[in-house]
């Protein structure tokens, strides 16, 4: 049964329906894989083996009934900032090390309803703040393709779990690239849907105006299937007002007439091998009938500073709730409420989280709000307008996902150099538009990825183009 772990979701679903193997056998094969990999990769914070076996038995009963959804019996991992009733949800923070949510996130409820089987909770940068999963309070995750390197972040654990064949899919969350960048570093397909396509109910908030949940998979078609399952309007999240459903002809490979802008970034610092790989993607799209032209968006030069101000400002407000009173860890021995707040937050938040809370507090304070927060809001508005203008003449944009391949663990110690790695991913986050990362070659034996972006609501177009690129296997 070892070969099972290498199959994609659609192949596994077909095998389950042909009764080539049972859901229980499938889950056991993945549990064996997790047991053999985890000492090296450390992709997971919590494993749910017992629960998974009981869910797999239930999935087998449902499959025998003959009308099971596609994901019935398929194992998966959730990033550990997605609430799971009765199962620890730590956000890789000492602050929530013992937190067991009394409710489940909508995305988890939808996957459970589809019969998918949770195998564990994925490691991450603490409260999603980071790009390497080295900011986890527990341990770093390694890249399964080269364990001396990082898997990216903040959804590095879920990405590593899929890349190591521990599960065929995982859900991550993306605030400024936290699905797309680890997908790029681990050779996966990662999707940040249009803001509002997936409910954030039960996602522990980092920056609420930017956070979005999305799938990490090994194929484009699998990615679209998972997004179809988790996407729906949700009364528990007022911003979740869209639905994505994968149309049947999405994977036909027909991209004739679609106009693609090859986006030249201001200050583009991508490695030459990455630029060359993305240009070869543009050539493939042109060969297949897409109309490709170069485009420039000068407004994007402000995206990185605007992102770091806005996300930190929102984080400083969202993380104010961790005060040692309502839930989470509590420091001992405080003599007053204020001492309790300060002592708890200083003891249990890690360095990067504290840095961003300080930055956000500073940017929102009355003396500095105009110089930072309002300027960042203004820049975000200009970026949204620039995208709207370009999408009036162009269906889709193409650029690298990251400026480099996966970097060695411990290499980046100063925050600004880490932040600069998000150059290509933060603009789509600020604009709320869909963006997909997919592998498009290798450099030095490591995966290189291209990013596709489209206008709000055009998530399906990204899958259509990505499927055409995937077919060619650059």
């Amino acid at each position: 049964m070892n070969g099972l772990i290498f199959q994609d979701i659609h192949a596994l679903a077909a095998g389950l329906r042909r009764k080539d193997f049972s859901a229980l056998e499938l889950v056991r094969a993945h549990i064996d894989r997790i047991r053999s990999c985890e000492d090296t990769i450390s992709a997971l914070i919590t494993r749910t083996e017992e629960l998974a076996l009981s869910r797999a038995a239930a999935a087998d009963a449902r499959l025998a009934g003959g009308d099971a959804p596609l994901l019935c019996g398929i194992p998966f991992v959730l990033k550990d900032n997605i609430c799971t009733e009765g199962i620890p949800t730590t956000c890789a923070s000492r602050m929530l090390a013992d937190y067991i949510p009394p409710y489940s996130a909508t995305v988890y409820a939808r996957l459970q309803a589809a019969g998918a089987v949770l195998l564990g909770k994925g490691n991450m940068d603490e409260f999603s703040m980071g790009s390497s999963t080295e900011n986890s309070a527990f341990y770093p995750t390694r890249n399964p393709l080269d364990i001396s390197r990082v898997p990216g972040g903040s959804s590095g654990g879920p990405a590593a779990a899929v890349a190591a064949y521990e599960v065929p899919f995982a859900l991550g969350s993306d605030t400024g690239g936290s699905i797309r960048q680890p997908a790029a570093f681990c050779g996966l397909v990662g999707m940040k849907p249009t803001y509002g396509t997936v409910s954030r109910h039960g996602l522990v908030a980092f920056a609420s105006s930017l956070d979005q949940i999305g799938p990490l998979t090994r194929t484009v078609q699998d990615n679209a299937a998972v997004l179809s399952c988790i996407s729906a309007p949700d009364g528990r999240d007022a911003t979740a007002n869209r639905t994505f459903a994968a149309a049947k002809d999405l994977f036909s490979g027909d991209i004739r007439g679609i106009s693609v802008g090859l986006l030249r970034f201001p200050g583009d610092a991508a490695d030459p091998a990455i630029r060359a790989a993305v240009e070869s993607v543009a050539a493939v799209l042109a060969d297949r009938g897409a109309q490709v032209r170069e485009v420039r968006l000068p407004a994007l030069s402000d995206a990185l500073p605007a992102y770091y101000i806005l996300s930190s400002a929102e984080a400083s407000a969202n993380l104010a709730r961790y005060d040692g009173v309502r839930y989470g860890a509590r420091a001992e021995g405080a003599a007053s409420p204020d001492e309790l707040f300060c002592s708890t937050r200083s003891t249990y938040f890690g360095p990067e989280v504290r840095r961003r809370i300080l930055l956000g507090t500073y940017a929102l304070s009355a003396g500095h709000r105009d110089a930072f927060y309002l300027r960042a809001q203004s820049a975000a508005r200009r970026i949204r307008a620039a995208f709207a203008e370009i999408f009036a003449t162009c269906d889709c944009l193409l650029c690298p996902t990251t400026p480099t391949v996966a970097f060695p663990a411990g290499e980046k110690s100063d925050p600004v150099s880490m932040y600069r790695g998000d150059l290509f991913t933060v603009p789509a986050s600020l604009a709320g538009i869909p963006a997909l990362s997919l592998p498009c070659g290798t450099a030095d034996g490591l995966p290189v990825a291209a990013q596709l972006m489209a206008a709000e609501g055009n998530d399906g177009l990204l899958y259509r183009l990505a499927a055409a690129i995937e077919e060619v296997r650059i």
């Binding site: 402000d302 500073y362 508005r381």
Partner: protein
């Protein structure tokens, strides 16, 4: 750019920064703020749409006063709410 007063901002953020951490943190924050300071001025639309500064309170950390909250408690013991024990299991 105004200097980054770590003690004042940490007080607002309800964080304590040890003397040993201050120098490194100040250096990091200066680098981050220099990076952020490259943003151009806000446009008039954003200025107009933003909450007026007069609507914000001063940036001063103040002691918490539990009295207004305690007034709302159905039952008190000393200066704390009395709640049923074992009522919630997670």
């Amino acid at each position: 750019m105004a200097p980054f007063d770590i003690d004042s901002i940490a007080g607002l953020a309800r964080l304590t920064v040890s003397d040993g951490e201050k120098a490194a943190l100040a250096e990091d924050m200066a680098a981050i703020l220099a990076f952020a300071a490259t943003l151009p001025e806000a446009d008039p639309y954003t200025e107009e749409a933003a909450l007026p500064l007069s609507a914000l309170r001063e940036d001063e950390a103040a002691d918490s006063d539990p009295a207004p909250l305690l007034c709302a408690a159905p039952k008190l013991r000393e200066d704390a709410f009395t709640v049923p024990s074992g009522g919630i299991s997670l």
